[in-house]
C-alpha cells in the first residue's frame, strides 16, 4: 500500500547524511519506540529514559526541519520540537506498534505546531510584528568552499526559492514539506495530516506546479535577458 515517493532524484543526489530511514518493514525509530514502551510498561522508567535519548537523536533533525517550516521561527520551532518529544514520552504507552513511529510522531509535532501558530496569532494581535526574522542566519545551501560568485548566485537562488515557498498556501506547503523535506511518503503524510492520499497528491501536485510557475518563470525571464 505504500506509495513510492516522487523523490528518487532528490535522494540520488543527496549526501549520505540526508538519506531517510527506510520504513519498511520496520524503521529503527519504530523498534526503539516499541522497546521504550515495553520498558515503561515494565516500570523501568530510568532505562526507558536512557533509550529515549536514542530516539530523540535519530528523529531530531527531521523534527526541527518540519517545525521550522511550519513556524518560521527558530525559538518556536525549538519549543515545539521539545514539547512533541515530551508528549511522546508521556504517552508512549498509547503508541500502536503496528504503525510507523515517524507517522505518530509527525502527527504530534504537526498538531503542536498548529496550536503554537494559533496561540502566536492571538498573541500578535496585541503586539507589533517584528520587521524581520533576525534569528535566521543567511541561507547557504552550497558548500562553503565554493567561490564567492557561486555563493552569491546560490544565495540569490535560495532567497527566490524561500520567497516562492512562502507564497504557497498552508496546506500545500505542509504537504510539500512533509513529502520532500521530512521525506515521508504520500501514504504517511495522509496518515499524519488526516487527509486522504488522493488529497495529499493533489496538494503536492499543485504545490509543485505553483513552484514551477514562480521559479521557472523567473528562470525563463533571466534566460531571455
Amino acid at each position: 500500500m505504500r506509495t513510492p515517493p516522487r523523490r528518487a532524484v532528490a535522494h540520488a543526489t543527496a549526501g549520505p547524511a540526508d538519506q531517510p530511514e527506510r520504513l519498511h518493514p520496520r524503521s529503527k525509530a519504530s523498534e526503539v519506540a516499541g522497546a521504550i514502551k515495553a520498558l515503561v510498561l515494565a516500570g523501568e522508567r530510568d532505562a526507558a529514559r536512557d533509550r529515549f535519548a536514542e530516539l530523540v537523536a535519530c528523529q531530531q533533525r527531521r523534527a526541527v526541519r518540519i517545525a521550522y517550516q511550519y513556524l518560521r521561527d527558530a525559538h518556536d520551532a525549538d519549543e515545539a520540537v521539545q514539547d512533541a518529544f515530551v508528549k511522546v514520552f508521556t504517552h508512549i504507552t498509547t503508541y500502536r506498534e503496528e504503525l510507523p513511529f515517524e507517522v505518530w510522531f509527525t502527527r504530534i509535532l504537526v498538531n503542536g505546531c498548529l496550536d503554537m501558530r494559533k496561540s502566536r496569532a492571538r498573541r500578535l494581535r496585541w503586539v507589533l510584528p517584528a520587521s524581520s526574522n533576525t534569528d535566521a542566519p543567511p541561507i547557504e545551501p552550497v558548500a562553503p568552499q565554493a567561490s564567492p560568485e557561486e555563493r552569491l548566485v546560490a544565495s540569490e537562488r535560495a532567497k527566490e526559492i524561500a520567497a516562492a515557498v512562502e507564497q504557497l498556501p498552508d496546506r500545500q506547503r505542509a504537504v510539500f514539506t512533509l513529502c520532500h523535506v521530512a521525506e515521508h511518503s504520500t501514504a504517511e503524510v495522509s496518515q499524519a495530516l488526516g487527509l486522504s492520499e488522493a488529497t495529499v497528491r493533489v496538494h503536492l501536485f499543485r504545490a509543485v506546479r505553483k513552484l514551477r510557475k514562480l521559479l521557472g518563470g523567473e528562470r525563463e525571464q533571466k534566460a531571455k535577458l
Binding site: 543526489t13 531530531q60 545551501p141 509543485v208
Partner: protein
C-alpha cells in the same frame, strides 16, 4: 520527459534550500542543547510533585502544659485576691478609698448650700467661688488636672 526531469530538479532545489534554511538555524550544538533539555524535562515529568512543608508558625498550637508548681501559685493568687476583696468590704468606711472623703466633703458643702437656701440667692460669682472652694479640697493629684480645666466664667469672658 524533460518536464519530469525539470520538476525533479526543481523539487530537489527547493527541498535542499528548505533543509539548509532549517539546518542553518539548528546547528549541531543547538540540537545537542535541545536534546539535553528534552531529557531534563522528561526527568522532571517523572518525578512526583514536591510537597512543601506547612510553615511551622501556622502549626496548631501545642496543648498548654503547666508545671504543678505554677498551678499552685495561680491558685494561691486567686485565693489571696478573694481574701483581699472580703477584707476590703469589712474594713471601716474611712479606710476604703481616699475619694470617699472627697465625696463626704462635697456632700457637707452641698448641705451648707441647702441651709442657706432660705437666705437670698448668691450671685453667680459667689456660687462659683463656693464650687471652687469645694474643689480645692480634692487631693493634690487632681488639683493639677483641675488647674488645666478652664473655668466657666473664663470661657464667658473669652467669648
Amino acid at each position: 520527459m524533460s518536464d519530469h526531469v525539470s520538476d525533479d530538479h526543481l523539487i530537489h532545489d527547493v527541498a535542499a534550500t528548505m533543509k539548509a534554511e532549517a539546518d542553518a538555524c539548528f546547528p549541531d550544538e543547538r540540537l545537542s542543547r535541545q536534546q539535553a533539555k528534552i531529557l531534563q524535562r522528561i526527568e522532571q515529568e517523572g518525578r512526583p510533585g514536591r510537597v512543601i512543608a506547612f510553615p511551622a508558625g501556622h502549626a496548631a498550637a501545642p496543648a498548654l502544659r503547666t508545671a504543678p508548681v505554677a498551678r499552685w501559685i495561680a491558685a494561691a493568687a486567686a485565693v489571696a485576691f478573694l481574701i483581699g476583696l472580703l477584707a476590703g468590704q469589712r474594713l471601716p468606711h474611712e479606710f476604703q478609698r481616699p475619694n470617699a472623703r472627697i465625696a463626704t466633703a462635697a456632700s457637707t458643702a452641698t448641705a451648707g448650700t441647702t441651709l442657706r437656701a432660705s437666705a437670698p440667692l448668691p450671685s453667680d460669682d459667689e456660687f462659683l467661688g463656693e464650687v471652687e472652694a469645694a474643689a480645692d479640697s480634692r487631693p493634690a493629684v487632681l488639683q493639677h488636672l483641675d488647674a488645666l480645666t478652664p473655668r466657666a466664667w473664663e470661657v464667658e469672658v473669652g467669648q
